[in-house]
Symmetry: C2
Subunit: 163 residues, 2 copies
């Protein structure tokens, strides 16, 4: 039932994300940008956090599971343990570098884009992708019950293959 097939690495990297890094940005390899990011949020820039941060943030918007990131890191000759991947993902999420997306699979997806936007979820392939922010309009925010305020609104548009 849970088909964990391999992913085609999504080649669609919107270049609009590559702007606005720190001063002295190096070409396509923002190693010390990652370091700066980590310092900024108070996380010590260790080897594995740097590596994971590099994988996550160097390529624009990404949607990863712990498993995916783990394999990618080890592929890239950066041995990290799965436990560390989980820890790091959660730490990054806590400080706002990542955002956890709830799709209905039992796995947790993490999104490197923490700005206001929503998602397509392709059910057959367990694949997540951003919806251009211009494309969905949440017309009226609903009124929350007494004593509560809205923390976030998540929209997931589930897709199936057309036939």
């Amino acid at each position: 039932m849970t088909q964990s097939r391999s992913f085609t690495p999504s080649s669609t990297v919107p270049a609009n994300q590559m702007a606005a890094t720190g001063p002295g940005d190096r070409t396509g390899c923002p190693w010390h940008t990652v370091k700066a990011k980590l310092r900024e949020v108070g996380l010590r820039p260790t080897r594995q956090r740097m590596a994971l941060g590099w994988i996550l943030f160097a390529k624009g918007d990404r949607h990863v599971t712990a498993e995916m990131l783990y394999e990618e890191a080890n592929h890239a000759k950066v041995p990290v343990s799965l436990a560390t991947v989980y820890n790091t993902l959660h730490q990054f999420t806590e400080v706002g570098l990542l955002r956890q997306v709830a799709v209905d699979g039992s796995k947790a997806y993490f999104d490197t884009n923490n700005s206001e936007h929503h998602h397509f979820f392709i059910e057959d392939q367990n694949d997540l992708m951003d919806i251009p922010s211009s494309d969905v309009v949440v017309g009226t925010a609903p009124m929350p019950p007494e004593g509560y305020e809205i923390a976030r609104i998540d929209v997931v548009v589930r897709l199936r293959r057309k036939r």
Copy 2:
């Protein structure tokens, strides 16, 4: 766990013996309505499916996890195994009697209301509730990528306690 709703078993009515009732539309104990529902979708109305269906549908819109339903059933003197609860929830979902809602916890929630509507999710309490269908407007449905069509749009409004 957070669901402190008390179950109202109609202790005055020995329900398991009043199968052949007339068309008296009695609120609160639609025993043969459940049976009809099950027959309609091609599921054999067994004792446990009837009981679970009764718990789920007799009280209007509900949001349950497998665990919650399991405890509720056993509380109501209807012993079912947890495995059967899972099986039943999935069978009900497959035939459209239920709908699975993806909130970000690791648990799966099932909603007895399978019509178009969205949800509030109270993060502190892990509590789900319907949003009145008039309250959220998904303005424009986004255009799906080539070859895909929209299966469903899920909106979850996350709430936190105001302070």
